[in-house]
Symmetry: C2
Subunit: 231 residues, 2 copies
Amino acid sequence: MFTADSSYFRSVDINYMIRVLIADDHNVFVEGIESLISGSLDIEVTERCHTVQSVIERLSQTAIDVVLLDISFPYIEDGLGLCEYIVRTYPETKVVALTMHDDASLIKRVVKKGAKGYLLKNTTKTELLRAIQAVHHEKQYFNQSITQILLNDSPKTRRSTAGIGAKPHLSPRESEVLTRIAQGLTTQQMATQLFVSAKAIEFHRSSLLMKFGVPNTALLIKTAMEMQMID
Amino acid sequence: MFTADSSYFRSVDINYMIRVLIADDHNVFVEGIESLISGSLDIEVTERCHTVQSVIERLSQTAIDVVLLDISFPYIEDGLGLCEYIVRTYPETKVVALTMHDDASLIKRVVKKGAKGYLLKNTTKTELLRAIQAVHHEKQYFNQSITQILLNDSPKTRRSTAGIGAKPHLSPRESEVLTRIAQGLTTQQMATQLFVSAKAIEFHRSSLLMKFGVPNTALLIKTAMEMQMID
DNA sequence: TAATGTCCTAGGGTTTTCCCTAAGATTTAT
DNA sequence: ATAAATCTTAGGGAAAACCCTAGGACATTA
């Protein structure tokens, strides 16, 4: 009668809980998420990490089903990088991005990096639990407001980027130069920092202008900021 | 022996709790703060508000001792305005600003608006409770990291101006020039549009650089965008 | 009626940015 | 292995940005 492989028993097995890791450097958030989850019967928060490094360590030591990842952790690029790392290194572990940014292009980037869900930090308890369960069952989860944001994307983006709209692909050198321009460095200063001639830097500047389709540094910075390629 | 005005009894009077209102449009935060406070014997969360309007309504109906106010609520200017309103309208109610922004100039602005405390959202339980008790007892509360930020102010703010720093006051001409720079126009093009010599425009450019405290157009655009003075 | 302060206007001269061209190195595809 | 594509490195020369200085217009104040 009560066999070992009874699917009935498996489906209500209280010993199996979805193991969640919270990655956020803001205590209040971690507490809040934990509080929202605490009532759940099939989800448990097993790890809380405040740094990128600790997330990597934890994942190597413990089996985690779902990572709730604050994308600004502490900066957007860090969060995206970490997301990519998790998805690649632990394909079984699903990532749900949890952030305050309701920006369409960011959502797209996060999804590209392999996140299976995206929640805003003003989400509800119901939604949070639903998202965790969904991604754990190989589904994606994006709530209504996210969908809405993506729908409003094209007219919005087209207006603000004043031109081509798609993020150009930058070579490593170009990225370095762009970053330094945004820090206010001159061509000569960059040349010294990067141990090349000023002329080499100047060429990269020109390439940036061409790739972004802008005539000068002013619009380069403006466009790159709108595309969130610098900050 | 047990008289009514026994100061002993008053100090442990479990009937008096510091009444706290949480003003934050992010559910996770509200939950988190409530979770951190829940263990306390002398502090209770009596109200939770997700909009500026509801905060104003609640305050008019209920006596509140301490407001934990998210300054980005939903935008920084709203939070600052609300803070000012609360301080002026209900002098007995103390405001503790709770935010993710660790920007020196913002802290200064918040304090100017009458907030008695300032906490970052990565604060600890101990610190949160201590801050609430401190401001309720007419003291101010700023933790170590805040003090540190204020100490590092001058070098930090002048360099990256990475935030909401003080907006410089621009003359009409300067505003016109700034707008056109952000549109990618050159000095010569602006001169033609505005019927003055290129040299006149160049002077306004210099004034802009000086007023924003930046060395070149790249940082001018970046800073002005961060200050939301162009778009 | 000055005096003070702010804003707009410019010229001279230096530095930085931008455009055109091109060679060597590295990666990718055939 | 060879060709094609991409990236990085520069040079020369023109354009633009930037720094310093200074006169004139206008409003506010003494």
